[in-house]
C-alpha cells in the first residue's frame, strides 16, 4: 500500500514537473537553429531560405565521390516529398549551412563528424529519425549506453556494394555483397546478421550448433527478435501481439491463455528454460536432459518455486528421464493441471 502511494506521489509530482519543463522548453526550443559553433549539431531541420544554406549541388564540386554515392540514397530524395519542401535537405541537413565553408574553403566552417562522439553523431540522426516508436528509446538503449551510435552500423552517405565473389551456399556471408539486399536499402554497412555478429561474436557458436534458429541461413534476422535501436525490454527484445514475448510471434500455439499455465512461461519468459540462439539440445533447452531442467525447480518441496515430484513413477533411472513424455503440454494445458493432455 505504501509502495503504491509512493509511486502515485512520484508520478503526479513527476508529471507536473515534466509539464512545467515541457512548456518552458517548448517555447525556448523555437529559437534553436543549427550553427557551426554548436558542439552538438542536432537538431537540424532548418528553413531552406536561410541564406547560409546553398544546397547539395554546391558540395559536388569538391566532394564528388560522396555526392555521387549520396545522390542515390533515400536521404537525397527527401526534397521531392511535400512535407519536406522548404526545409533543408541534402548534405546541409546534417553538416549545417555551407555558404561560409564554400566561400572560405575553411573546414572548420562546416560541421564535421570526424571528431564527434557516437552520441553526438546519433543526436544529429535522431533530429529526423526519432519520430518512430522503433527509435523512441534509443537514448536509453544498450547501444547508447555503450556509446554505439547510428554510424557504427549505418552508412549515411551511400550504399556499399562489394565485388562478386564466391560465397556460401547456406550461410549469409560478407562475400555476397554485390547481390542487392535489404542491407543496402536500409543503408547498413553490412547485412544483418553479419553486422551484428561483428560485435556480438559470443553468439556465433550457438548459431552453428546442431539446432538453432536459421539466422545465418538468412531465413531469420537478428532484428526480427531484437530492436537494435533500444527498447523497454531486456536484451532489447521485441514484443509480439501486445505484451507477449517475441517468440510468440512465430510460436503462436504457446501463446495461450491456458486454464493451467506453467507459470514461469509468462512470469520468467521463454529464456528461463530455452537458449534461443541455438543448442545441441533439439528443444534448445538450457540443459542436455529435460529432467535436469525440471528437477532444478521441482525438487525439495519447501514452498519456493515448484512442487516436488513424488512416487516411483518419477524414477530418474533413464538416460533421458523424460518428464515431458507424460507432462506433454509443458507450456500450458487447457484441461490438465499437471499438463498431461
Amino acid at each position: 500500500m505504501r509502495l503504491t502511494k509512493a509511486i502515485k506521489t512520484l508520478l503526479i509530482c513527476g508529471s507536473v514537473l515534466s509539464m512545467v519543463v515541457w512548456f518552458t522548453a517548448a517555447r525556448s526550443s523555437q529559437a534553436v537553429s543549427p550553427t557551426v559553433t554548436n558542439p552538438n549539431p542536432a537538431p537540424v531541420i532548418a528553413n531552406a531560405d536561410d541564406p547560409g544554406y546553398v544546397g547539395s549541388d554546391a558540395c559536388k564540386d569538391c566532394h564528388e565521390d560522396q555526392f555521387k554515392a549520396y545522390s542515390h540514397t533515400s536521404h537525397a530524395k527527401l526534397s521531392t516529398i511535400g512535407s519536406w519542401k522548404g526545409k533543408v535537405t541534402g548534405c546541409e541537413s546534417c553538416h549545417g549551412p555551407g555558404k561560409n565553408h564554400i566561400a572560405e574553403g575553411d573546414p572548420t566552417k562546416i560541421i564535421s563528424f570526424k571528431n564527434k562522439t557516437s552520441k553526438e553523431t546519433a543526436e544529429t540522426c535522431l533530429s529526423c529519425h526519432a519520430g518512430k516508436e522503433e527509435r523512441n528509446n534509443f537514448r536509453r538503449g544498450e547501444h547508447w549506453r555503450n556509446d554505439i551510435g547510428c554510424t557504427d552500423c549505418h552508412s549515411p552517405h551511400s550504399v556499399t556494394t562489394g565485388k562478386n565473389l564466391a560465397n556460401s551456399n547456406v550461410l549469409v556471408t560478407a562475400a555476397n555483397a554485390e547481390k542487392p539486399g535489404f542491407s543496402s536499402i536500409r543503408m547498413l554497412k553490412a547485412n544483418d546478421p553479419q553486422l551484428c555478429l561483428g560485435c556480438h561474436s559470443e553468439v556465433k557458436p550457438a548459431f552453428s550448433s546442431p539446432f538453432h534458429h536459421k539466422v545465418l541461413e538468412g531465413a531469420m534476422r537478428c532484428s526480427d527478435c531484437h530492436n537494435p535501436h533500444g527498447g523497454f525490454e531486456l536484451k532489447q527484445a521485441r514484443l509480439s501481439t501486445g505484451g507477449d514475448a517475441a517468440c510468440i510471434k512465430c510460436h503462436a500455439d504457446k501463446q495461450g491463455p491456458f486454464t493451467y499455465e506453467h507459470a514461469p512461461v509468462k512470469t520468467e519468459g521463454c529464456t528461463a528454460c530455452h537458449t534461443p540462439h541455438g543448442s545441441a539440445n533439439p528443444r534448445l533447452l538450457k540443459f542436455a536432459a529435460v529432467n535436469q531442467l525440471c528437477l532444478t525447480c521441482h525438487s525439495v518441496d519447501h514452498g519456493v518455486g515448484a512442487v516436488e515430484p513424488s512416487g516411483p513413477q518419477h524414477n530418474q533411472n533413464a538416460q533421458y528421464g523424460n518428464c515431458t513424455a507424460c507432462h506433454i503440454k509443458i507450456h500450458g494445458s487447457r484441461t490438465s493441471p499437471v499438463f498431461f493432455r
Binding site: 512548456f23 526550443s29 552538438n40 537538431p43 549541388d57 542515390h72 533515400s74 530524395k77 526534397s79 521531392t80 516529398i81 519536406w84 518512430k132 523512441n136 537514448r139 536509453r140 549506453r145 551511400s158 550504399v159 565485388k163 562478386n164 564466391a166 551456399n169 547456406v170 562475400a175 547481390k179 539486399g181 535489404f182 560485435c199 559470443e202 557458436p205 536459421k214 523497454f232 514484443l239 500455439d253 495461450g256 491456458f258 493451467y260 509468462k266 520468467e268 528461463a272 539440445n281 533439439p282 542436455a288 535436469q292 528437477l295 525447480c297 525438487s299 525439495v300 518441496d301 514452498g303 524414477n315 533413464a318 538416460q319 533421458y320 523424460n322 513424455a325 487447457r334 484441461t335 493432455r341
Partner: protein, 760 residues
C-alpha cells in the same frame, strides 16, 4: 492488491490524458508553420543541379526505361550422400538432393526517383525447391506515398531422435515384456510452418502522419507423435497437428506539435484443429494383460482471440529532456472443447483402487469419454515511462519505470464417463458439470535510474540502479476430481497439509535490487574497450533458476591497427547463486549455483580487395549444480530409493571457424570455410545416483564440424558457374547414449548464377 493495481492504472491513465491535453495545448501555443517555397536556384546552380549519369555502385544495373534493374538468380542441383544416422541428419539439416533455387535477388530502381507505381522494388529469396527453410522478402516503395514490406517463410521441421521423449531408452521395469529400446524417442514429428508478414505504410516519409496496415498469417501442420498415460499403460499416439493464426493490425504514427505518437490496434485470431483418430493401438508396454486401445480419438478445437492496443508518445523537449511513454493492453480469450473417446481392453480405469473401485482388468472398456468445455481469458497491461535528461553535452540521466499486470482466469467444466465390463458385469461411473477454476494474478513494478557521462570522444562511463518488485498469486477452486464421487476442494484455511483435495492459494513476492555500470574507452586511436558489469540480489525467487544473487561481467576489446585488419576479444562471466531462501531463512543445502564463462576472439583481415580472412575461436564453460531430491530404481531391484543429491550439468564447448575468400584470377574466385563445435561436456565424470550424496550428471559431449568450399567461375558478364561441396560430420560421445547418433553427410552441388545489371 487488485484495487491497488486499478488505482495505479487510473493514475497512469490520468497521466496519459494530461500528456495528451498538454500536447494539444502546446500545439495551440505554437505558431503555425508557414510553408516556405523552395528557393529558385540561380541559372548556374540549376545547371549544376541537373542529374548527371554517373556510374556508381548504387547505379549499377541494366537499363529498363525509367528504371535500372540489378538482379541475380542462382539455380542448380544438389547431391546428397549420408552415412550413419539418417534421422539425426534429417533432424539437424534435412537438405535433400535435387534441383534448387538457391538464391535470387531482384532490384528495380527508378533513375530519377520518379518511377510510376514504385521507385524501388526489391525481391529476394533463398532456399526454395526442397530445402528445409525457404524465404522470400519483398519491398516496394514510392517514398512519397507508400512503402510495402512483405516476407514469406517456410520451415520444415523433422525430429526423430533418441533424446526426445524416450523413456524406453533405458527405463525398462521387469514387468515390461519389451526390451530396452534404442529406437528414436516417442515425440517425433515431421511438420511444417509457414509464416508471413505484410506491412503497408502510407505516406512513409511524411513527417506529420503515417498510416500502417499489417497482416501476419501463420500456419502449422503435419504429423507428430505424442504420448498419453492412460489405463495403466503409456501410448504413443499419432496426431495430426493443424493450427493457424491471423494477425491483423492497423495504426498511425506521426507528430503533433512537439510530440511524436504511435498507435496500433491489432487483432490476432488463432485456431487449433489438431486431432487424433486411431484404430487398434497397443501401448508401449506390450504385455497383453495391460491396457490397449481398440479405438481412440481426441480433438480439442480451440479458438483464441487476442485484441491488443499499443499507444506511445515521445518528445524531446528543448533538446534536453527525452520523454517516452508507452501503454500496451491486450485482451486474450480462449474457448475450447476437449473431446476424447476411447474403447479398449484391460483398463485400469482412471478412478479408484481397492474397495469401491471400478471393475479392473481383465475387462473391456466399453467407452471412456472426457468432454471438457472451457474458457480462459487473460487481460494484460504494460505501461512504460522513460525520461532522459540531457543535463549537459556530456551527462545524461535517465529513469525508466514499468508496471505490468496480467490475470489469467481459467474455468473448465468436467464431464467424465467410464463404462467397463467383465463378463456379464457392467460398471459405469460418470459425473458431469463439475467446474474447476484457476486464477493467476501477476503484477510487476520496475524502476531503473541510470546515467552516462562522456568525458570526450574516447572515454565514457555509464552507471545505474534497478529495483523490481513482483507479486504472483494462484487460486484454485471448484471440485477435486480424484475420486468416484468428487467433492468441492477443501478451503486453504481448512487444509492441514498439502493435498490434491486442497484448494491452492499460493502467494509469492519477489524484490530485486541491481547495480550496473561500465565504460567505453579508446586508450589508443585503433583500440576500443567496452566493459560492463551488473550485480543483483533478490529476497525470493519464483523459480530456483531465477536470478537471486548474481554477478554478470562483460569485457570486449577491438583493436584495428589499420582499415584492413582487426582483432576482437571478449570475456563474459555470469554467476548466479540461489540458496532458495524463504522469508529471510537461508536453505543453503538446497541451493542452485550456475556459473558460465565465455571467451570469444576473432581476427578479420582483408589484405587486398582479392583476399579476405575471417577466423575466430570461442570457448563456453558452464557449471550448474542444483541440490535435488529424486526417485531412483535400479532394475531388477523393486525398491525405489529417494535420495538427496546433486544435479550437475557441464558444458565445455570449443568453437572455431575460418572463412577465406580469394579471387584467384579475374574470372575465378574461391570461398572456403570450416566451422567446428566440440563440446567435451562432463569429461570423465559419471553419474552416481545411489551415492552419498547421489549425483545426476549430464552434458552433451559431441563434435559437429562443417567445412564448405565453393569455386565460382565467371563465364561471361551474365553467368557464373559454381562448383561447391559441403560436408557435415556429427559425432556424439558414448556418454550421450548407447547408440550414438553419428552421421557424415556429403553435399556436392553445382549451379549457375545468372546476372542482370552486373558491374564489370
Amino acid at each position: 492488491m487488485k484495487s491497488n493495481v486499478k488505482n495505479m492504472l487510473r493514475v497512469l491513465s490520468g497521466l496519459m490524458l494530461v500528456l495528451v491535453l498538454a500536447a494539444g495545448a502546446a500545439i495551440a501555443a505554437e505558431p503555425t508553420p508557414t510553408p516556405t517555397p523552395t528557393p529558385t536556384p540561380k541559372k548556374a546552380d540549376a545547371k549544376k543541379a541537373e542529374p548527371k549519369a554517373e556510374t556508381t555502385s548504387a547505379q549499377t544495373g541494366e537499363d529498363a526505361g525509367d528504371y535500372t534493374i540489378t538482379s541475380s538468380i542462382e539455380i542448380g542441383y544438389r547431391g546428397l550422400s549420408v552415412d550413419g544416422d539418417l534421422n539425426k541428419y534429417k533432424s539437424d539439416l534435412n537438405y535433400k538432393a535435387g534441383p534448387r533455387l538457391f538464391d535470387s535477388s531482384f532490384l528495380m530502381r527508378s533513375k530519377d526517383g520518379k518511377g510510376g507505381l514504385f521507385d524501388t522494388l526489391l525481391v529476394t529469396s533463398s532456399g526454395w525447391g526442397g530445402d528445409p527453410y525457404g524465404q522470400m522478402r519483398i519491398l516496394a516503395e514510392k517514398p512519397k506515398w507508400y512503402r510495402f514490406e512483405g516476407s514469406y517463410r517456410r520451415f520444415k521441421y523433422f525430429r526423430f531422435l533418441d533424446n526426445i521423449a524416450n523413456p524406453n531408452f533405458i527405463f525398462s521395469p521387469t514387468t515390461f515384456n519389451r526390451p530396452p529400446s534404442t529406437v528414436t524417442g516417442e515425440h517425433g514429428f515431421d511438420t511444417q510452418t509457414q509464416l508471413g508478414d505484410f506491412d503497408l505504410t502510407i505516406l512513409p516519409k511524411n513527417e506529420k502522419i503515417r498510416f500502417t496496415v499489417g497482416y501476419s498469417p501463420e500456419r502449422y501442420s503435419g504429423p507428430a507423435y505424442t504420448t498419453y498415460h492412460q489405463g495403466g499403460n503409456e501410448f504413443m499416439l499419432l496426431q495430426n497437428l493443424k493450427s493457424r493464426s491471423n494477425d491483423f493490425r492497423l495504426g498511425a504514427d506521426g507528430k503533433v506539435g512537439p510530440i511524436d505518437f504511435s498507435f496500433q490496434q491489432g487483432f490476432r485470431r488463432f485456431r487449433d484443429d489438431s486431432f487424433i483418430n486411431l484404430g487398434p493401438t497397443l501401448g508401449v508396454n506390450l504385455n497383453p494383460a495391460v491396457a490397449s486401445f481398440t479405438t481412440f480419438n481426441r480433438s480439442e478445437p480451440t479458438r483464441t482471440s487476442v485484441n491488443y492496443t499499443t499507444f506511445s508518445v515521445h518528445s524531446l523537449v528543448a533538446g534536453k529532456l527525452d520523454l517516452t511513454a508507452r501503454i500496451v493492453h491486450s485482451s486474450s480469450n480462449s474457448n475450447f472443447t476437449f473431446l476424447e473417446n476411447e474403447t479398449g481392453t484391460n483398463f485400469a480405469t482412471r478412478i479408484g483402487s481397492g474397495a469401491g473401485a471400478q471393475l479392473g482388468a481383465p475387462n473391456v472398456l466399453i467407452l471412456g469419454q472426457y468432454n471438457i468445455p472451457g474458457n480462459t481469458n487473460r487481460p494484460n497491461t504494460l505501461f512504460d515511462f522513460g525520461a532522459t535528461f540531457l543535463a549537459t553535452d556530456k551527462l545524461r540521466i535517465s529513469n525508466t519505470f514499468r508496471v505490468e499486470t496480467f490475470e489469467i482466469n481459467g474455468a473448465d467444466l468436467f464431464n467424465d464417463f467410464f463404462s467397463v465390463s467383465r463378463g456379464v458385469l457392467v460398471d459405469t461411473r460418470s459425473f458431469s458439470n463439475l467446474g474447476v477454476s484457476k486464477i493467476t494474478k501477476y503484477r510487476k513494478y520496475q524502476d531503473t535510474v541510470e546515467g552516462d557521462y562522456q568525458f570526450n570522444k574516447n572515454y565514457s562511463i555509464h552507471f545505474g540502479y534497478r529495483y523490481g518488485s513482483r507479486h504472483i498469486e494462484q487460486i484454485l477452486s471448484g471440485f477435486a476430481l480424484n475420486s468416484n464421487a468428487p467433492v468441492p476442494l477443501t478451503s486453504v484455511a481448512a487444509c492441514t497439509s498439502p493435498s490434491v483435495t486442497c484448494a491452492k492459494d499460493e502467494i509469492e513476492t519477489n524484490h530485486t535490487n541491481a547495480f550496473f555500470g561500465g565504460f567505453k574507452a579508446r586508450p589508443a586511436k585503433n583500440w576500443t574497450i567496452f566493459f560492463d558489469a551488473e550485480h543483483g540480489t533478490a529476497d525470493n525467487v519464483f523459480t530456483r533458476i531465477g536470478n537471486y544473487n548474481y554477478t554478470n561481467i562483460r569485457a570486449k576489446s577491438r583493436y584495428a591497427p589499420n582499415r584492413k585488419m582487426n582483432f576482437n576479444f571478449a570475456v563474459i562471466t555470469k554467476d548466479n547463486a540461489n540458496p532458495s531462501e524463504i522469508a529471510g531463512v537461508s536453505l543453503t543445502d538446497f541451493g542452485v549455483n550456475i556459473k558460465s564463462r565465455t571467451f570469444t576472439s576473432s581476427f578479420n583481415w582483408v589484405p587486398t580487395s582479392k583476399l579476405s580472412f575471417n577466423t575466430g575461436y570461442n570457448y563456453n564453460w558452464v557449471n550448474s549444480d542444483a541440490v535435488v531430491d529424486y526417485f531412483f530404481q535400479v532394475p531388477p531391484a523393486v525398491s525405489v530409493e529417494h535420495p538427496l543429491g546433486h544435479s550437475l550439468y557441464f558444458q565445455r564447448n570449443n568453437f572455431f571457424y575460418i572463412d577465406v575468400v580469394a579471387q584467384l584470377s579475374p574470372r575465378v574466385s574461391l570461398y572456403a570455410t570450416y566451422r567446428v563445435n566440440q563440446d567435451h561436456g562432463q569429461g570423465n565424470r559419471l553419474s552416481d545416483p545411489t551415492g552419498t550424496p547421489g549425483t545426476l550428471i549430464n552434458s552433451y559431449p559431441m563434435s559437429y564440424q562443417s567445412p564448405e568450399g565453393r569455386l565460382s567461375i565467371k563465364i561471361n558478364r551474365h553467368i557464373d558457374w559454381n562448383l561447391g561441396y559441403q560436408y557435415y560430420d556429427y559425432n556424439e560421445n558414448a556418454l550421450v547414449g548407447p547408440r550414438p547418433q553419428n552421421y557424415h553427410a556429403h553435399l556436392p552441388y553445382t549451379s549457375l548464377r545468372i546476372y542482370f545489371g552486373r558491374r564489370e
